[in-house]
């Protein structure tokens, strides 16, 4: 089976040890976590892990089964890129003189739809949200001028279809489906 990108969304109780349990499942199967994001979710008191992997559908299904089995996990879903709306963000720290000396940099900022978050005497910071490729592209454009620091976040994603967490928590969910 062909490898693909999958976004795994894990809804869970907020628990310190859970990340360890979940990462252990990937470790056992030698599957690399390409990106990981943990945040609160749409439901109060429920956390959401967004995990990106590049592997086969079959491995993804098995891993999601193992994740769901963990006591604190309410439900885990997996989706292909087409089935999700997703974004990543990145920060670029760049020397301030470039902003004034290099005309091209201003064009890059404009065309990439990024924002200047802060400007100080020594450096300025650009924030860019978008798909990984867009961020990579911007990185490549800026690189020749010198990037003082760069960081990209994990993917965040919402699915096009429903993830019925409330009905699970309220006991209305039919697991046999």
């Amino acid at each position: 089976m062909e490898k693909e990108w999958f976004t795994i969304s894990v809804y869970s109780e907020n628990n310190v040890g859970l990340l360890n349990r979940i990462s252990g499942i990937f470790l056992k199967r030698h599957i690399n976590i390409e990106s990981l994001n943990v945040s609160k979710s749409e439901i109060e008191g429920v956390s959401k892990f967004t995990i990106v992997v590049f592997t086969t559908p079959e491995w993804t299904r098995k891993i999601v089964g193992q994740i769901e089995k963990q006591i604190e996990v309410i439900k885990a879903f997996y989706h292909t890129d087409e089935e999700t709306i997703y974004q990543e963000s990145a920060l670029f720290k760049i020397a301030s003189d470039l902003l004034f000396d290099e005309r091209q940099i201003q064009n890059i900022i404009k065309e990439s739809n990024s924002q200047i978050v802060t400007v100080s005497r020594d450096f300025f910071v650009l924030a860019k949200s978008g798909r990984k490729e867009e961020i990579d592209e911007m990185h490549d454009l800026l690189e020749p001028y010198g990037i003082m620091q760069f960081v990209r976040s994990g993917r965040i994603a919402v699915s096009k279809t429903e993830m019925p967490i409330s009905s699970i928590l309220n006991g209305y969910y039919d697991y046999s489906k």
Partner: protein, 577 residues
């Protein structure tokens, strides 16, 4: 104990009482019906041991000789009773010594709660004396674990621990308690846990799936059941029997499914797997509908997956959704507790006999009997065989004993030849294959079933991994029967070396001590058998003994276990020699 349990809970219900965390632990255990725990003390758990001392009339603590022994004893207790086994240990080395037992319980779905002491809260993370990250270490080998750092967390977490350990697919839970939480006081109030909102232990049976399963079974010409421990854990033994009898389906067991069905039942065709029976393995690739009940298609059962039951439609009954399609692709998955799902299946099944199909199992049995079984249990050669010892134990115990086996050749002989009339009677380390399991597990099994004979079958290698538990047997006068089948080798590994490594016996020859003298050192009655003529009387003497008894049988040194599916080969390639 029953009345005590009620009393305790009642007083707690009325008004919360102010007690220490350590005392709260005892009340939690009593409220959960755990009045027998195994363990080993040390600095970080001393407050709890101090309470154990005060409560010794209500709660028995068995001091094992190693923490690993405590876990296996708790497992033996859990496996024979179906209740949660409890083990405790101190922090650091005490806690790490639990890891093998946790891993064993995790892979064999055994309900167990382990309690470990931990350094005091403000020292956590400072590399304090005997501090170890047992939560991190035990995460992959527990169903759930939790570190308590405040006394007020104790009742809720302990209730949750027991609930999680015993519900759904059971498993081990570890609760780590910092020393300050044992000393601190709390307003104690106990309420058993009935639900954890993120945890769905037993999926609701789906009617459509059950109907689809019934339809497949009813139209099958060669249906075949393979059942595992899920039948025992789900208390579905009667349901299994009814299904098998009504639909006339030959049924085979995995090593952990053994004893769920009377071994003498005419439709019980034997064991599947690497050293399982000939017919059950071979005919897996001839059945048209394979019905797996409470088993997980372990690689020791399936051999090569690409050539496993490819011709068959597969129906998989399991409580754990993660097992479905994990190893073998199923056509119909029936989720739920086997007791419930089989109950729903039964009325939908047509009565059937499948005589011709069943005869194929009989024919294969005859082939296996002539090639293997006959020589195993009625040998004509001079040396004693493990099979004949098992046969003598069957006779002397009238198939009523609990058999606890260790890991190796003797385990395969025990599981192939022991006969059972009663469920929960075969206790062995199946998934992890833990040498050293049997002696401590037999202690727990005996304490869980005082009215039954418990016979441990152990190799000379595995025996020496937990031999110190003879001290536990001696101190507690636990009347277990210990049989060491001594071949002066790590037999199973030697067999593989003979077959697959040109007989290069790398580190599998054992120079053994005088086992009888060692048993005598612990004041355990003992005897050694070297010749066939003495075997029967010795086994009878052992079974008749009211006290613990040690029997060493010096068996043939280089015997092999057959049939055998070489590692990674197909079930069709099962070898008789």
């Amino acid at each position: 104990m029953e009345t005590l349990k009620k009393e305790e809970t009642k007083t707690n219900k009325q008004t919360p009482i102010k007690i220490s965390g350590a005392e709260a632990i005892i009340h939690c255990l009593l409220a959960e019906g755990a009045n027998l725990v195994y363990g080993y003390p040390g600095g970080a758990i001393m407050p709890i041991y101090d309470e154990l001392y005060k409560f010794q009339d209500k709660l028995t603590h068995i001091l094992t000789r190693h923490e690993q022994g405590a876990t296996h004893a708790a497992q033996g207790y859990a496996r024979v009773t179906g209740d949660v086994g409890v083990a405790m240990a101190t922090s650091g080395p005490g806690a790490t010594n639990l890891v093998t037992g946790l891993a064993d319980a995790q892979i064999d779905s055994t309900p167990m709660v382990c309690i470990t002491g931990q350094v005091t809260r403000h020292l956590l993370g400072s590399d304090a004396f005997q501090e170890t990250d047992i939560i991190g270490i035990s995460t992959p080998v527990t169903k759930w674990n939790y570190q308590i750092t405040r006394a007020e967390e104790i009742p809720e977490i302990m209730a949750k621990a027991f609930y999680i350990a015993r519900s759904g697919r059971p498993g081990p839970v570890l609760v780590d308690i910092t020393k300050n939480a044992q000393f601190e006081e709390l307003d104690f109030f106990y309420e058993p846990c009935k639900k954890v909102r993120s945890y769905n232990p037993v999926p609701k049976p789906n009617k459509k799936a059950i109907e689809a399963a019934a339809e497949l079974i009813n139209s099958a010409k060669k249906p075949y059941i393979v059942f595992g421990q899920g039948v025992i854990l789900g208390k579905a033994e009667e349901q299994l029997k009814s299904v098998v009898e009504k639909a006339g389906i030959p049924a085979a067991w995995t090593i952990l499914g053994l004893s769920a069905m009377d071994t003498d039942h005419p439709l019980n065709v034997g064991m599947v797997g690497m050293h399982g029976n000939y017919g059950p393995n071979l005919l897996t690739n001839e059945c048209d509908v394979l019905i797996a009940i409470g088993m997980r298609f372990d690689d020791r059962v399936t051999g090569d997956l690409d050539t496993y039951a490819k011709q068959a439609k597969v129906i998989h009954f399991d409580i754990d959704p993660a097992e479905i399609d994990k190893n073998v692709k199923t056509d119909v998955a029936v989720l739920g507790n086997a007791r419930e799902t089989l109950d729903l299946l039964l009325p939908l099944l047509n009565e059937n006999r499948h005589e011709a199909w069943h005869n194929e199992f009989k024919k294969k049995y005859e082939i296996e009997f002539d090639a293997v079984i006959k020589n195993d249990i009625h040998p004509t050669k001079e040396g004693l065989t493990m099979g004949e010892v098992m046969e003598e134990i069957n006779i002397a115990s009238e198939n009523k004993a609990v058999i606890v086996s260790d890991v190796g050749q003797h385990q395969m002989f025990a599981c192939r030849y022991a006969k059972f009339k009663q469920t929960k009677s075969n206790i062995t380390s199946g998934g992890l294959g833990t040498m050293g399991f049997a002696l401590p597990a037999a202690i727990g099994a005996k304490m869980g079933a005082m009215d039954r004979e418990v016979v441990a079958i152990i190799g000379d290698g595995g025996y020496q991994m937990t031999i110190q538990e003879l001290g536990t047997i001696f101190q507690n006068k636990t009347p277990v029967k210990i049989v060491v089948l001594n071949n002066d080798h790590l037999g199973m590994v030697r067999q593989w070396q003979e077959l697959f490594f040109d007989s290069r016996y790398a580190s599998t020859v054992m120079v053994n001590p005088d086992f009888v003298k060692i048993a005598e050192g612990y004041h355990i009655k003992s005897t050694r058998v070297k010749e066939r003529k003495d075997l029967k009387a010795a086994v009878e003497e052992m079974m008749a003994s009211k006290d613990a008894f040690f029997l060493e049988v010096c068996v043939e040194k280089e015997d092999n276990v057959f049939p055998m599916i070489p590692s990674g080969a197909s079930v069709s390639d099962v070898r008789l020699k």
